[in-house]
């Protein structure tokens, strides 16, 4: 597994929405090529803000953000970034858009995939049937696959996924994580997943970063589950089971 060039660099980044209360404070981190990183933390802890800052939707008050070595404000090769915002399902409430139109609209790069190829890649057996469906008519599982296909359509180098498991039940979470792991391994894709659900963390994670306004932990999953950090972040004890998945309790 390659782990050399930094793909994302945060240098002492502070972000706030009102210029008074920072949502991220003095955060420094690096994501290296080929890593699979989970960003965890409580709701409102700044996970989504971190991803929005990486893609340039939010400008830091202090500090620097670089994507593929370029300051994010000057970054232009957006095909290299596959991004899935939080609550993506709610974006389509009133749109009669079908899956084919959505994926075609998102495809901006000549090296990108055809919509059928993208949905096949995420494990859809009958692409034609899915492509002709309205996005608002999809089940949670199909919507999740469609959104992942949307993020993958331009053959990106990095995937940034914000709470991607909210559409599905626990069985669906497992299947989705297996799919992501396959993409990570087979395509050497750098993946950053922000989630409040600690049970979604794959044992193949390169690193886990814990955020609650500040960066509280940046290290391996093994070290995290044997430390007191989870208790510090969530405010209650998180017990871990032997297969590596976790469950929480007061």
């Amino acid at each position: 597994m390659k782990a050399n060039k930094p793909v994302v660099e945060f240098e002492r980044v502070t972000v706030s929405y009102d210029r008074k209360t920072p949502v991220l404070k003095d955060v420094s981190l690096k994501v290296f090529e080929g890593e699979m990183i989970f960003i965890i933390g409580p709701n409102g802890g700044g996970k989504s803000t971190l991803l929005k800052t990486i893609v340039g939707s939010l400008r830091p008050e202090k500090g620097r953000v670089k994507l593929f070595g370029v300051d994010v404000s000057r970054f232009r090769d957006w095909w290299m970034v596959g991004y899935l915002p939080q609550n993506a399902a709610t974006l389509f409430e009133k749109m009669p858009l079908n899956v084919s139109e959505l994926l075609t609209a998102a495809a901006i790069h000549r090296k990108g995939m055809e919509p059928a190829e993208a949905v096949k890649l995420v494990g859809v057996e009958d692409p034609t049937s899915l492509l002709n469906k309205r996005v608002t008519d999809l089940s949670g599982g199909m919507l999740q696959k469609t959104m992942l296909a949307l993020a993958l359509i331009n053959n990106p180098k990095i995937l940034l996924l914000d709470e991607p498991t909210v559409y599905v039940d626990q069985t669906g979470v497992g299947a989705f994580m297996r799919l992501l792991t396959k993409l990570h391994v087979e395509r050497e894709l750098t993946i950053v997943i922000a989630t409040h659900d600690v049970t979604a963390i794959s044992t193949l994670a390169s690193r886990v970063i814990c955020i609650n306004r500040e960066s509280l932990y940046d290290g391996t999953l093994e070290q995290l589950i044997t430390s007191e950090q989870l208790c510090n972040i969530y405010g209650f004890h998180v017990y871990t089971l032997r297969h590596g998945h976790a469950w929480s309790g007061e």
């Binding site: 893609v55 009133k94 749109m95 858009l97 139109e101 309205r134």
Partner: protein
């Protein structure tokens, strides 16, 4: 029936109907998903104010109306985006401002035909309106065809659009400008109070049954054109305001779309 088309004012009214029936339903397909359909009301009330002020000071209302409509839409977008206000709150402010300004101008002696301005009239349309309308419709149609994919992703989500390299700020400005200008293009024939219906009703009706965005856009323009035509022609024979008859026909189509959706029929 033929005599309808031989009257110059009716020919102008029908041409204005063709422009409004194309532009407003087309834009509605993008404004409704962005929860911005109320922009129509904000700008139409500003147009009302500009018509009254122009009448008071003896100016031709054309350029001022276009300018005021764009200012209203842009101002409302700034309130929604910059000040994080809800759309209905921003709308209330612009409705009040437009209404109050028009009221002051009328109280001060502005002479306008309120019935025609509020509900539309076949007599109000002038050649200048048509030329401006054709220019706006051509540019808007061309831009949407040329940049359809970018506009779709911008409509879905601005963050997704930004990550696709779409110049989001520019698109916001264009959306504000085109919406304001289109409202003015439709306001004389449909009326201040009813022009928003042209923006909303065809797009909402087709969104209930269409299986794709392209079908929804095509159908909503077809609905807009046919309803405008029927409304304007019926107004010639019945004396009703064209805006009112058009809205009633559109409401009937909306009811039919709702029934088709309930029956599970998609187009």
């Amino acid at each position: 029936m033929i005599d309808v088309f031989q009257q110059p004012f009716m020919a102008r009214a029908l041409a204005a109907g063709v422009i409004a029936g194309f532009l407003l339903p087309l834009l509605g397909n993008f404004l409704i998903p962005k929860k911005l359909s109320l922009l129509g009301d904000a700008s139409s009330h500003f147009v009302f104010a500009s018509l009254a002020v122009s009448a008071l000071v003896g100016l031709r209302s054309g350029v001022l109306s276009y300018l005021m409509a764009v200012i209203a839409v842009f101002g409302m977008l700034q309130m929604v985006k910059g000040l994080k206000m809800a759309g209905d709150q921003a709308l209330a402010i612009f409705l009040a401002l437009g209404g109050a300004t028009a009221s002051i101008a009328i109280s001060s002696g502005a002479r306008i035909n309120l019935n025609a301005v509020l509900f539309g009239s076949v007599f109000l349309v002038e050649l200048d309106d048509l030329l401006a309308g054709v220019a706006i419709a051509s540019l808007t149609g061309f831009f949407i065809i040329k940049k359809f994919r970018e506009i779709v992703i911008f409509t879905v989500n601005e963050e997704l659009a930004r990550v696709r390299g779409v110049p989001v700020k520019l698109y916001e400005l264009l959306l504000a400008a085109v919406s304001g200008l289109s409202i003015v293009a439709g306001v004389k024939i449909a009326g201040i109070l009813l022009v928003t219906a042209l923006l909303v009703l065809p797009a909402v009706s087709t969104s209930l049954v269409a299986t794709s965005m392209k079908k929804a856009i095509t159908l909503s323009i077809a609905i807009g054109e046919s309803c405008m035509f029927a409304g304007i022609v019926s107004s010639y024979y019945t004396g009703m305001a064209p805006g009112a008859s058009t809205v009633y026909i559109m409401l009937a189509i909306f009811a039919m779309s709702g029934a088709l959706m309930k029956m599970g029929i998609k187009i």
